[in-house]
Amino acid sequence: MPIQDAVSPVQKVTFDEIAQEFADRFAVVIFGTPGAEADDKIAVQLKLKNALMQDLALKERIRLTCTAGATMTLADAGNGTVLSGDDSEDIIIETDETTGTFDLEVEYAGSGTVSVVGGATQGSGFVHCGESLDLLFA
């Protein structure tokens, strides 16, 4: 057996080898499956995962923007908090500390696709918001 087989090169370090506490420093925003449209509103849950793509129960601040003409708010009795811009197309939210979720409700009186995208803002940690969401309003 050559010695090279016994020594793992450092370039092979993977996310699985990252300690849990360290992995939890890196949040990833995931959107759930949107609900059915009712009264020009669609509800969808935003959820945090860590670098290992495990559920992350954390309070994270995220800026959400969406297609002009639509508005966003916290769904009735939903998890999370709207910090600013409630009922507008540009809101700053905080996920629920115990679940890492935010229950978003998007309202659009017209028909067509409304896109929602997240991003880091004041008070954010390392949060990856590469996934956007398209909602189809009839």
Binding site: I3, D5, S8, E17, A19, Q122
Partner: protein, 157 residues
């Protein structure tokens, strides 16, 4: 023959039969879940910049000096000039003291500033009311990867 513990192994430098049996063969030498900030090279560790706040000082009757320091995940200062955005309640105004420089928004509640080469920024918060002002930092154009989770409350009494 004394076995080696693998800490200083260079590939090809020793025969395989001298490896400690605890060292996994064929890769996987780094156990899952074992890499913490302590094990990162300094250059990599400093890619993850965290905003921390120091103790506020009275600069004038209605002005508090709040030092902000960039640190790594081992709580060590990061000596680097970084751009960040700082916002607060509209009832207060922000500007910069001795350390760091303002890039835009001087004397407003929405300031873009740069830390000095030591990673420090002296924030001067002016408020004429007896209230608590919450400061929030965040990334903006030109910012590095920034962990700005920590907010800071300044009490004006």
């Amino acid at each position: 023959m004394t076995r080696l513990d693998g800490r200083f192994i260079k590939p090809g430098s020793i025969p395989a039969d001298r490896l400690d049996p605890a060292i996994p063969i064929g890769g996987g030498a780094v156990p899952d879940g074992s890499i913490s900030p302590q094990k990162l090279a300094l250059a990599l560790l400093r890619k993850f910049v965290a905003v921390t706040w120091g103790e506020p000082q009275e600069a004038a009757p209605t002005v508090k000096l709040v030092p902000l320091q960039l640190k790594d995940y081992l709580d060590q200062p990061i000596p680097a000039a970084c751009v960040l955005r700082i916002t607060c309640d509209d009832r207060a105004q922000l500007t910069i003291g001795e350390h760091g420089q303002a890039l835009s928004g001087v004397d407003s509640a929405d300031l873009i500033a740069q830390t000095d080469e030591t990673g420090r920024l002296d924030l001067l918060v002016t408020c004429a009311q007896c209230i608590t002002i919450t400061l929030a930092a965040g990334p903006t154009q030109g910012s590095p990867l920034l962990d700005a989770t920590a907010l800071f409350d300044v009490n004006f009494t």
